[in-house]
């Protein structure tokens, strides 16, 4: 593992779905001293990996051994009727696989953070399929790139500089040969990085997309403006999209979380499908957590479904809105929550958090997070991609190997090993 | 037997079975529904030389029709099974589809067989036709046309009905004959299940089922012709009679035909100048139904 001079090259950054794999990490003893090439967030992630760390397992706030913590976790799970596992987006593929095993064993529900980020993207794809691309293809071929409801400047800082504003095989000059557009309801920092910013009215994404689809078909419509854009401008946008050589549409939570949710994505997918009748287009969700894409992939390999899976009947069942974490919590359904590699207390609506506070919570995370404050059992974990190896999936579906660059703190083990310990002792209890 | 002093012969009308369909025609107002119904049942008096026997059976109030508009119920009758399908196709296609605002719904009781006539007519929609339902027991086809949308039920039924019921009566003159005849037909319109296929419901040329010419199956029945009473020795026409009227009554059931016969006799007998009422038959050789005038409960 160790490379000469404690310098690690081509390290994959485990912050966002970009999984930039050109990071150079330098370590000295037990400290990471330098992150070269990484974005500001990446630097914080690597260099600050020991900040705010949870180093000791606790049960009801008291420090215990790892074995004791596991024992208590197993007790809680074994006595539950409706067990919910949530999280999994900030960990590696093997840990995810163990989580599905645990859910199956305990007859529980397993949901990942997809349900509050790109869940609607998957619902859209389930209705209409996917016309996708890879980031490399985009870089080498795309003469137009559109971001819709995405703010990479804040959430994926190197997306534009590392993948898009780069010369490629057929795009010699990324400034001249490639157009970058942004469509959003807010003039974000990203708006200043692109060639054209198109502002649309909030909650009109679906109308704008459907209008573009109709215009691309060559249909004349009755309306004079949609979402604050004149039909003339929309016609021009449609024409540009139709006449592009190779286009890629990246979309973010501005599309998945706004009015319409999965319907917006379904429409966007069909827009891209329509465009493929004339030229080549692909689309890609701007996945947030570095391995949320992987959570969907591993879940689908193992269970057939990407998230919101119930094993209560022994076989997997899929029902977003019913087995998704926010809905289950808000409806007061689960009697135990195992949270791993996510922070529902920080990211869930109040009612869900209020219910979560009433049930036993087992929290597995490398750092103190908001959920730790409410958890009965806290188990620290090693940070994948820094303190242990693994695999993760980039936003375009490409799996990448995560390197271990430093030893985890004393007694702290990877997520997958914690889950295996739980499974092992639960197997004994359940039999 | 006498009604209002008019003698009723102790005889019977001889009727036979035919294949029938009953259809509701609706339109934006009652007058137009009737106009459409008259056109649709036009040229359909006697199977001797028209393709069908058809007529208005009943006038419906708006709340009695499937679409809440004024409507008229009509019945079509043919000798052959397939004739029903052909006649519906031609008549609904040419006379209802073409009539602005008019629509057609099947209303045949005791259906023996159905034909996808509506579906075929809807092909006029040239791909713009839409199938709806079943709703309220019907599958409908909607097709765009200049007046809006033509609505036609997908299938139309065939049932066995009764044709050839009749009364023949003798009048003093044209005025008394026509006035009583028109009133008699109006009375039959109020009887559900029966209709009168001839022009305005009246027959001016009663026929006998034979002819001296080989090409003809029927010819004028000279025994009922007032102008021939001098030379036809076995004439039925009384001395003071110069006008003979026949009302031919078809219906879905023998009972409906009998009801209608009764209603017509009661009405006709109210009119001055009506001398005597009889009915036509062939001695029971032709049809399986005998409607005895004295057994109508007059």
């Amino acid at each position: 593992m160790t490379e000469a001079g404690n310098t690690f090259k081509d390290v994959v950054c485990t912050f966002c779905g970009c999984l930039c794999d050109d990071i150079i990490i330098e370590t000295e003893g037990e400290k990471i001293t330098k992150n070269t090439n990484g974005c500001a967030i990446s630097k914080e992630r690597f260099v600050g990996h020991m900040e705010n760390r949870c180093l000791q397992p606790t049960v009801k706030g008291s420090a215990v051994t790892l074995e004791k913590a596991i024992e208590r976790a197993v007790e809680i799970i074994a006595s539950s009727k409706r067990f919910l596992i949530y999280g999994l987006s900030s960990t590696e593929n093997d840990a995810q696989r163990e989580a599905y095993r645990l859910a199956e064993l305990a007859g529980g529900v397993v949901d990942n953070t997809t349900s509050v980020c790109h869940g609607p993207t998957i619902l859209g794809a389930q209705e209409s399929g996917e016309t996708t691309a890879s980031l490399a293809e985009t870089r080498h071929r795309a003469d137009i790139v559109i971001y819709w409801g995405a703010n990479p400047a804040a959430a994926h800082p190197r997306h534009i500089p590392h993948y898009i504003r780069q010369p490629g095989e057929y795009i010699k000059d990324p400034k001249k040969d490639r157009q970058i557009w942004l469509i959003d309801v807010r003039e974000t920092t990203t708006a200043r990085m692109v060639d054209r910013f198109i502002k649309i009215n909030p909650a009109t994404d679906l109308e704008v997309i459907e209008t573009l689809r109709a215009l691309i078909r060559g249909t004349k419509l009755d309306v004079v403006e949609v979402g604050g854009i004149s039909i003339k401008d929309l016609e021009q946008i449609a024409t540009t999209m139709k006449t592009a050589k190779y286009g890629v549409l990246f979309f973010g939570l501005g599309l998945t979380q706004s009015f319409g949710r999965h319907r917006n994505i379904d429409a966007a997918i069909r827009l891209i499908q329509d465009l493929n009748a004339y030229t080549k287009w692909g689309l890609m969700p701007m996945r947030g957590h570095y391995n949320v894409s992987g959570a969907n992939k591993t879940s689908t390999w193992v269970t057939g479904y990407p998230y919101a899976i119930d094993f209560a009947r022994g076989y997997p069942r899929f029902s977003p809105g019913e087995y998704t974490a926010v809905d289950m919590l808000a409806r007061g359904e689960p009697d135990v929550l195992l949270n791993i590699a996510a922070d529902p207390v920080a990211h869930f609506p109040r009612a869900a958090v209020a219910y979560l506070a009433k049930i036993p919570v087992i929290n597995i995370d490398p750092k103190f997070n908001m959920t730790s404050q409410l958890a009965e059992v806290n188990i620290p974990a090693a940070i994948a991609g820094i303190e242990c190896d693994g695999a993760a999936t980039r936003m375009d579906g490409l799996p990448l190997y995560l390197k271990k660059v430093i030893e985890p703190p004393e007694g702290v083990i990877p997520d997958r090993d914690i889950l295996r310990m739980i499974i092992k002792s639960l197997e004994k209890v359940m039999k | 037997m006498e009604i209002n002093g008019v003698p009723i012969d102790d005889t019977f009308a001889e009727a036979f079975s035919m294949h029938m369909n009953r259809t509701i025609i609706t339109a934006y107002d009652e007058d137009w529904a009737r106009t459409t119904a008259l056109e649709t049942t036009g040229f359909a008096t006697s199977v001797i030389m028209t393709p069908s026997e058809a007529g208005i059976e009943y006038i419906l109030k708006p709340d009695e029709t499937p679409d809440g508009r004024p409507g008229v119920r009509v019945i079509f009758a043919t000798g052959s099974k397939d004739g029903i399908r052909e006649q519906l196709l031609a008549r609904l296609g040419q006379c209802v589809l073409t009539s602005p605002t008019a629509c057609a719904y099947d209303d045949t009781p005791d259906v023996a067989e159905t034909y996808p006539v509506g579906k075929m007519i809807a092909m006029f929609g040239d791909g713009h036709q839409v199938k709806k339902g079943p709703i309220d027991g019907r599958t409908l086809w909607l097709l765009p046309r200049m007046s809006g949308t033509f609505v036609i039920q997908e299938s139309f039924g065939r049932t066995k009905g009764v044709a050839g019921g009749n009364i023949i009566y003798f009048c003093k003159d044209v005025e008394s004959g026509m006035a009583s005849g028109k009133a008699g037909v109006k009375a039959i319109e109020k009887v559900e299940g029966a209709y009168t296929p001839f022009p305005g419901g009246l027959v001016g040329s009663g026929s006998k089922p034979s002819s001296r010419y080989k090409v003809l199956h029927a010819s004028t029945n000279e025994r009922y012709c007032p102008t021939m009473k001098g030379i036809v020795p076995d004439t039925f026409v009384p001395k003071d009679c110069d006008f003979v009227v026949e009302i031919v009554i078809n219906g879905l059931t023998e009972k409906a035909v009998a009801e209608a016969t009764k209603a017509a006799i009661l009405e006709v007998c109210k009119h001055p100048g009506v001398i005597r009422i009889s009915a036509g038959n062939f001695g029971g050789a032709l049809g399986k139904y005998k409607i005895h005038l004295h057994e109508l409960g007059l």
């Binding site: 409706r82 067990f83 009755d222 429409a267 809105g321 | -």
Partner: protein
């Protein structure tokens, strides 16, 4: 003959009671019915653990009527896949009521949660209260929603009603939420109250009658004239014959209806929306 189920107490964790169907009950004694399986979380339980079971069971499905009482909001999947007989629910009820129903009749005096009548292919559902999201919708990823049957809702309905509807009839007395009849490709819907935004997005075929106000329609729908319509009366009369209480006032057959056609984002654009011109003149231009 009627079997009466009374919920003993509201379960803390929802139960899945897809065994409550006339088909499952027919030919069984009350004791046998009590042993039918319901799921609570991962636990397989018996019906009698949750319900007091009285009344008289019948031999055939057709003769079987099930009356259920109590706060059933945490009871899911009642009447799922039902094929004949009757279920009467006195109170509110949870998700998936009558989902995948084939035949029979369900009446509910209260309100129902999401996915009632989802992917049903026949039968009749009457709900006197409100219905949640995805009424008569297709499940996730399914290209086919409701394929037949009749559904009448006396209250309001949530979002994405009739998603992927192919056939059948839905009438709503109250208001309908956003994105009703999305990707509809057949069937008929009557909305007596207000129709929510984005109705019929990506719909390719079918008919929707909006008897109340429509604040907006998708921009990809086109106005196609106002006139009296030969068949609107047909549907109105049908509704009136079944549920006269759904119509606040009489609608004359000579009333004018504005027609909208779409969705022009799609290759096939034969979805028809009819709105009463007198309430929706702002849409017609």
């Amino acid at each position: 003959m009627t079997v009466l189920l009374s919920l003993k107490q509201v379960p803390n964790i929802p139960i899945e009671a897809d065994s409550i169907t006339p088909t499952a009950f027919a030919g069984k004694t009350l004791a046998q019915i009590g042993k039918l399986v319901v799921m609570q979380g991962r636990n397989s339980c018996e019906l009698r653990e949750f319900f007091e079971i009285t009344g008289e069971s019948a031999d055939s499905v057709e003769e079987t009527e099930i009356v259920i009482r109590g706060d059933l909001r945490k009871v899911k999947q009642i009447g799922k896949g039902m094929n004949g007989g009757r279920i009467r629910i006195e109170g509110d009820v949870g998700m998936h009521l009558g989902a995948e129903m084939i035949a029979g009749r369900i009446t509910v005096t209260g309100s129902v949660d999401a996915y009632a009548g989802a992917e049903m292919s026949g039968g009749n559902i009457q709900i006197e209260g409100n219905a949640g999201d995805y009424l008569c919708a297709g499940y996730r990823g399914s290209p086919d929603g409701m394929k037949g049957g009749r559904v009448f809702i006396a209250g309001n309905v949530g979002n994405e009603m009739a998603l992927h509807m192919r056939k059948g009839f839905i009438a709503v007395k109250g208001n309908v939420g956003a994105m009703a009849a999305t990707r509809m490709k057949g069937g008929s819907i009557i909305v007596c109250g207000e129709l929510g935004p984005r109705a019929c997005i990506e719909a390719t075929k079918g008919m929707l009658f909006a008897l109340g106000k429509v604040s907006s329609l998708p921009p990809t729908f086109k106005y196609s004239g106002s006139s009296e319509r030969e068949f609107t009366g047909y549907y109105i009369r049908y509704l009136k014959s079944r549920r006269p209480d759904f119509l606040q006032s009489d609608i004359s057959p000579s009333e004018k209806w504005a027609k909208f056609i779409g969705d022009f984002a799609e290759a096939e654009s034969k979805m028809e929306i009819y709105t009463r011109l007198v309430l929706n003149s702002h849409l017609a231009s």
